[in-house]
């Protein structure tokens, strides 16, 4: 959305090169007439000469298609969001000259959003990092790759020697391919630390934890395409129209098929504009809202009792909690009147199957895991899970956040959610063909530390410090850390920093003497390179975008797609995996790390990496998606039905597009993939599934296994536990295994049998390898076994804190002291009365360095801004377009001492989109700090075209009680005219 009133005012355009303000933007008649006088006057434009435009205007010759030259077509997948739109690139002589719609793709049918339509610009990338650079006395110096790897490697070895391997925070990326992100995790493992993470932490970590602990896997259960079949859609804290635009194609088709759409959001978003019902909600009251809905559902007996009996455990305990959420209480806490709640509940009850969609609005809270579980419980109560048109359709963020979460750099697990216990390391040591003891000794074995539950463990078995807290890894007193020493080095490969909270403290951390080394491996310098006044010890490594390499990527619906390489790496950039190989070589573990991965000319073979993933990731069924099968799916993608994603005829008849995981067993059993999770209406061999038996067989005398519910064709006509070798023997199915399988499977289970035989045989008999259990509404290991409402740490309703307080402070949580009650002990709402939330714009993505450097996208969103309600604006004398200061409250705690609030200078957009008492900013901007444009700190010609304040300069402390997700969707601020 542009910064303009209803009656379109002229935008003041920013010239991309000079930084001057140049008029001449979208000419509508009114503005044209106003300016035509000026143009004729000429002199009036002094100081804003558009001459510079002539030079900066992209010469049509640079990457223009030429007649008579052979044009090649290559197919990739967009690098921007998890929908996974196909991208067709036209290339002439290695230059990317055009894009075509990939209408054969069943996922986007040729469609794109602004970002997808702009990816060709990656092929020229004027603002890209071109060569490695080092910051020396505040100036960027060009260096060679060899020199860079040497310096960085030496420094890392020095730090390792002095402080141990845990002193490096290596942040990987959700934008790396499956192979790239898997190598990032492997790199950290071979370096000897779990201090590795990626964007999922601050995006859907609470989803994965909450959902996986409810019914087995923490991913989107159905797909965007399946939404054609919904009868209702409850969209909470998700703005698909701006964050997943092409998903709206499927949502609107569902709407045209009759689906009723309800949007619940503090803002009247573009998605809400297409809804049947819009509900404005107080930020941070999400669990209360869901319980308020369930109150009506239970009150009227609308729940699906038979479904609950067969497939759900613990609903009665939920009933107990929901009883407290009568309409009056709910209205007090959420702001939603009874009649709106009732109408919503009724719509959902009367229109089944229905789906629930949630995104950051539900996840980014310190009680995020409560919200996500409440969402699941709502769907279980309605009987909406495990069928077409239903499910929990969680829209993931970055293009490969799903893949990176599944097999990539997570601090709390090895690839495939195996965890970090000894058994998990032994499994992967076998897959990697390295000696377990050798691997173990890569870690700090000098002593054990508090693992967060009061017991002692080695750091090898303790979750690392997540990306939401890396600054505390530097600032915190090392005696309080569950590792030897602070961070002395950080390396960010493909991750921005302006998406993490507490920007003021981040600057302090970057300027701290403790931080000896900063390495940025990215196509662009990012906000990290300029936000602090660091003078030395910083390296920039030009890294390729996903279009300059190839590999597989996993979309939100769990489908894997194969990307072809479109162009050669630009300038001196290198792909993630090559950089990791070079570093690993310098650090001395490349031989072990790439033991079964062929390396040619410093390039690890991507296919070999995927095959290694296939050999080891049995838990979530990443075993059947071999490179060959994925390439075939790309080739014959036009044969897949666009609602069911099933191939109808053609060479892949019966398979599901992208072999959505779990794709069980080895590639040769040719499992078709599982399009809808937990759907018992099909045999497991054809993509059917049941709830995973993950939490035990019984609890308090009640069976946790499914009762009278099983998938079609199942030989066990009831619930059953997960499959082990012993269980196969008991069932008399052991001899179905061939000899090689028997050798591998002996004494193992469906997750650790590297032959895949146990899985194959279980499926042969119609059973799911992971068991058949009930979903559980009570997660007894979590701080709140049944989800409850707790006020945000920074709340405008301080009167509610007494009844709904936050947690007690924790001494050691993910290796760090983590505060709750001591932050909430102060009432900030007097001086900071506005609720401050942030979110996405269509044109930009993530930290924004890449998209704000794209000339076509930059033109569409030229200013950082804050949306403020007309009433709040009038109270402060603010008019549309005014510059304002947005001040954050900081933190007033005794430990670790108070911090001042950050402040950002932005333009005000006065709009009724936000309710009274709430302000909203986009989070994509960077390159400014507290009113100062940092353009001069960028290496020459790499400053993004559009720069602005990072909203997180002003955000605050607050972390989820299970995953350390940051609380960005409910904090406070004050706004005043600048």
């Amino acid at each position: 959305m542009k910064l303009r009133r209803k009656q379109a005012q002229a935008e003041r355009a920013v010239d991309p090169g000079s930084g001057f303000e140049v008029t001449g933007q979208t000419l509508d008649r009114r503005t044209f007439l106003r300016r035509s006088g000026l143009a004729l006057g000429g002199a009036a434009l002094s100081g804003a000469l558009p001459l510079t435009l002539v030079h900066k205007v992209r010469a049509a010759g640079e990457s223009a298609p030429r007649q008579g030259i052979e044009t090649e077509t290559r197919r990739s997948v967009c690098t921007h969001c998890s929908v996974g739109c196909g991208v067709i690139a036209e290339i002439q002589n290695g230059v990317w000259v055009g894009q075509e719609p990939d209408f054969e793709s069943p996922i986007n049918l040729g469609a794109h959003c602004a970002k997808g339509a702009s990816v060709r610009e990656h092929g020229s990338g004027d603002r890209r990092l071109k060569y490695p650079m080092e910051l020396v006395d505040g100036k960027w110096k060009r260096i060679s790759w060899d020199a860079a790897i040497e310096s960085i490697g030496n420094k890392l070895l020095e730090i390792r020697e002095k402080s141990g391997p845990d002193s490096l925070f290596f942040c990987g990326s959700s934008k790396a391919s499956n192979e790239g992100s898997y190598l990032q995790r492997k790199f950290a493992a071979f370096w000897g630390s779990n201090n590795v993470d990626h964007q999922a932490r601050i995006c859907h970590s609470t989803t994965v934890a909450g959902v996986a602990n409810t019914w087995g896997y923490g991913a989107m259960t159905n797909s965007y395409n399946d939404m054609h079949n919904c009868k209702s859609m409850l969209v909470c804290g998700s703005n698909a129209a701006e964050a997943h635009p092409v998903a709206m194609q499927h949502i609107l088709r569902g709407k045209e098929n009759g689906a009723k759409i309800i949007v619940v959001d503090p803002r009247f978003t573009r998605t809400a504009a297409h809804a049947h019902q819009y509900i404005r909600l107080r930020p941070g009251s999400d669990t209360a809202f869901i319980w308020g809905l369930l109150w009506h559902i239970f009150e009227n007996g609308w729940e699906d009792k038979e479904y609950i009996r067969q497939r759900v455990y613990g609903m009665d305990e939920v009933r107990g909690e929901v009883k407290k959420w009568d309409p009056k209480t709910t209205e007090d806490v959420t702001g939603v009147p009874e009649k709106d709640m009732f109408q919503c509940a009724k719509t959902l009850a009367e229109n089944r199957p229905g789906t629930i969609v949630w995104c950051m609005g539900h996840t980014q809270h310190h009680t995020g895991n409560n919200n996500t579980r409440a969402d699941c419980i709502l769907q279980l109560a309605l009987g909406n899970v495990g069928l077409s048109g239903g499910g929990a359709n969680i829209f993931r963020g970055h293009d490969n956040v799903q893949g990176a979460t599944d097999v990539g750099p997570n601090c709390h697990t090895l690839p495939g959610y195996y965890g970090l216990a000894e058994g998990a390391w032994q499994h992967w040591a076998r897959v990697w063909d390295v000696d377990y003891d050798w691997l173990r000794n890569r870690f700090d074995m000098s002593q054990q530390y508090d693992d967060g539950s009061g017991k002692l463990a080695y750091t090898m078995n303790i979750e690392g410090m997540p990306v939401s807290r890396w600054i505390d890894g530097i600032l915190e007193d090392k005696a309080n850390l569950s590792q030897k020493d602070n961070y002395h080095a950080i390396m960010f490969q493909g991750h921005a920093v302006n998406s993490q909270t507490r920007g003021v403290e981040m600057k302090q951390a970057l300027e701290s003497d403790r931080l000896e080394l900063v390495v940025i491996s990215d196509p662009y310098p990012t906000h990290l390179a300029v936000m602090s006044e660091r003078k030395n010890g910083t390296f920039l490594l030009p890294t390729c975008t996903q279009f300059e390499t190839y590999g597989s990527v996993t979309a939100s619906n769990r489908s894997l797609q194969w990307r072809e390489q479109i162009i050669e790496p630009l300038f001196e950039s290198k792909p993630d995996h090559e950089i990791l190989y070079l570093l690993a070589k310098k650090l001395g573990f490349a031989d072990q790390m790439f033991k079964h991965i062929e390396v040619h000319d410093n390039q690890p073979s991507i296919e070999d990496v995927l095959r290694e993933i296939n050999r080891g990731t049995w838990t979530i069924g990443y075993t059947g998606q071999s490179p060959e099968r994925l390439k075939e799916h790309a080739k014959y993608r036009s044969t897949f039905n666009t609602t069911t994603l099933r191939a109808e005829g053609g060479p892949l008849d019966g398979e599901y597009y992208g072999l959505p995981w779990p794709c069980w067993g080895t590639p040769d059993i040719k499992h078709p993939g599982t399009p809808i999770l937990y759907d018992p209406s099909k045999p497991v061999a054809e993509g059917g599934l049941v709830f995973r038996a993950r939490f035990g067989v019984e609890r308090d005398g009640v069976s946790l296994l499914a009762e009278d519910s099983y998938s079609v064709g199942s030989e066990i006509k009831d619930g059953y536990p997960e499959f082990t070798a012993d269980m196969l023997k008991q069932l008399g199915w052991w001899d179905d295994l061939v000899d090689q399988e028997k050798t591998a499977a002996e004494g193992r289970n469906w997750k650790t049998d590297l032959s895949g035989g146990i899985q194959r045989v279980a499926i042969k008999h119609g059973c799911a390898p992971f068991g058949n259990a009930k979903a559980r509404c009570v997660v007894w290991q979590f701080p709140d076994p049944v989800p409850v409402h707790r006020e945000p740490l920074y709340t405008p309703r301080y009167d509610l804190v007494e009844k709904y307080p936050t947690y007690e402070d924790r001494k050691s949580f993910w290796r760090l002291p983590t505060l709750y009650a001591s932050v909430q002990a102060t009432d900030y709402s007097k001086n900071f009365p506005l609720v401050f939330i942030s979110g996405r714009l269509t044109e930009y993505e993530g930290g924004g360095a890449e998209t704000r450097s794209n000339i076509w996208l930059a033109e569409l969103q030229q200013h950082m801004f804050v949306e403020i309600n007309p009433a709040d604006a009038n109270d402060r004398g603010i008019r549309d377009g005014d510059w304002v200061w947005l001040d954050g409250p900081g933190r007033d705690t005794q430990y670790p001492g108070p911090t001042r609030g950050g402040r950002i200078k932005v333009m005000a957009m006065v709009t009724p989109r936000v309710g009274r008492g709430v302000v909203w900013t986009p989070f994509h901007f960077g390159g400014w700090f507290e009113g100062q444009d940092l353009e001069s700190r960028y290496p020459p010609e790499t400053a993004p075209i559009v720069r602005g304040e990072a909203c997180n300069t002003a955000t605050t402390y607050g972390y989820d009680s299970v995953t350390q997700m940051q609380e960005t969707k409910a904090t406070l601020c004050q706004v005043q005219r600048a």
């Binding site: 719609p101 209408f103 049918l109 040729g110 088709r253 666009t642």
Partner: protein, 66 residues
């Protein structure tokens, strides 16, 4: 009766007078003129039924919900 007769006599006179009020329309009509530029090969291409068929197919393949 006289007034009636007078009216009937005056009528042709009035009519005659009114003819003076008739004017050739003074507005100048501008018709779009003949195009003065170079010929565009696309023009003849677009006139062909084959091309129209091709574009129709393309529309159905790419832009319809399938």
């Amino acid at each position: 009766m006289n007034s009636r007769k007078g009216l009937w006599m005056a009528l042709p006179a009035i009519a005659l007078f009114l003819t003076g009020c008739y004017d050739e329309p003074k507005a100048t009509f501008f018709e779009p003129g003949e195009y003065q530029g170079r010929p565009d090969p696309l023009v003849s291409l677009e006139a062909s039924a084959q091309q129209q068929q091709k574009l129709q197919e393309r529309l159905k393949t790419v832009q319809m919900d399938r």
